[in-house]
Symmetry: C2
Subunit: 338 residues, 2 copies
Amino acid sequence: MGKMQYDRILLSHGSGGKLSHELIEKIFLPVFRNPLLEPLDDGALIKFESTSLVMTTDSYVVDPIFFPGGDIGKLAVSGTINDLAVMGALPKYLSLGLIIEEGFFLRDLKKIVESIHQTCERAGVQIVTGDTKVVPKGMMDKIFINTSGVGVLQEGFKLTGRLNSGDKIIINGAIGDHGTTILALREGLNLNTPISSDCAPLNGLIQSLLPYGEHIRIMRDPTRGGVATTLNEIAKACHKGLIINQETLPIRKEVQSLCEILGIDPLYMANEGKVIIIASNEVAKEIVSEMGKHPLGEKACIIGEVVEEFSGKVVLETEYGSRRILDMLTGEQLPRIC
Amino acid sequence: MGKMQYDRILLSHGSGGKLSHELIEKIFLPVFRNPLLEPLDDGALIKFESTSLVMTTDSYVVDPIFFPGGDIGKLAVSGTINDLAVMGALPKYLSLGLIIEEGFFLRDLKKIVESIHQTCERAGVQIVTGDTKVVPKGMMDKIFINTSGVGVLQEGFKLTGRLNSGDKIIINGAIGDHGTTILALREGLNLNTPISSDCAPLNGLIQSLLPYGEHIRIMRDPTRGGVATTLNEIAKACHKGLIINQETLPIRKEVQSLCEILGIDPLYMANEGKVIIIASNEVAKEIVSEMGKHPLGEKACIIGEVVEEFSGKVVLETEYGSRRILDMLTGEQLPRIC
């Protein structure tokens, strides 16, 4: 294992940003390295004779557990479905691992269970196995949920990860809603215009893009660390530069002003119902128009493009034409955001 | 959803015993009911064209996280492998979901990661996907681990769950080691004869029984709730009576005397490297002898048999010929045992 900067776990090790990457690269990967794990994608691609499966896992520790637009149950199902969908898989089966604090109200558990069910129904997936552990009061906070998922790879999505100059970067709607909602709630901010989490299962939307599957290079859901961190991961993995046009970024006014109050850039705010798609220039507009037909893609738009320069970097171009490097999230902006 | 006895989660809801069953039957099953989930086995059987897969999940919250015979990492891998193996599957792929408390020592994380790896190597399984969340200090206790697993069903294991009178109940070794070890450690008991957890992946041992696959009716790992609870689950599901001969029960002297001091019956103590097998009378002795060749089955023996009477019940026959009903665990004997 590699030498780490710190001898204890910091909140930043769970941020999805730089220290998370360090943890994976220095602690986990040297030990667990294998060809299925190594791509470090959102899930693992498993070939089974004729069928290829994708497997993924995610734990959810969001605080508060109920929030405008969703709850920890909806989040846990949506998040794992989205990880499968962006891998080009048709999500099929989920496992449900609950860790619950002693004294947790059953009425709250019922609400969460109902929400999990509704999200599964909506997305057409099934919970096929589960496990519940209860931890004595005070030894944890309320409820943590792990959802692992298995999906069937759809060969129509090529997702080579090979980017060409001129490829377009597409997102299906407004940035930063989930993170801003949770943070505003925790800070007790009283909002004139209420905002809500974008938390949603994206498999239906993504499925509708299968006809363009050969022209889609990569799909990613910009959760922890936000759009900026996800774009950085793509730029690094694909050895290309990504230029983002600030004025095209879809950000709700309410989210923008809250972020200004909180001193946080919405580009680093977690999203839970967004997908970033990089596709060839020739079909980019068609993809945007196709996404526009789906309720979760109405605000889809092109936010930037792939360039030869700035290899491995993300560059934000402002409306005045100035450019600055948009780095990966460093430190922990917001623990327990998902 | 059904009406529950309590309005809050009790530790007993996580015990694997009666209240756990109530939680599953009244809260989870009415909502999530589907044919894959409904058998409520240790994993879900998923048919994929020619290949059938088994999927399972388990979270581990054991306290302390390091103990004689293992640690939370070895436990998490072994437990999920065992759930797959007792379903008749060849365990193949695991996901690893870590939830870590801020401030947790990296040296401890490294030890756990190493232990996870060694257990995977030993069992021939791979970690193919993972996720890490960090929770602020004080909001949880040290580290919780979820492992979900996928295995390939081995058609040679029939595991019909249909029991016949005269079928024999077999176990691969001593009862109660894991639970007693953890409890003694927590109580700070100073032991003359140190005991240690039986925590181990059983897939190799179980695989060696494939030649008897047609004669094995059911396999189960008696973890939370112990042998008594697992036998009760089998008796209820299979509508037969199970008679256990007390004098044949393999229990280490040290475990027996510790259990007496602690006032707990080893039959209710968790095991993490044990499998209960019910097989036809004709091959039972051969199975015991085959198990005896494996390091994890050296102490294998027949502990009882299936009878027509006492349908749905487990009966313990003492050495003096008296009989008493052995009920499922009620209440929570020991939180955070696994």
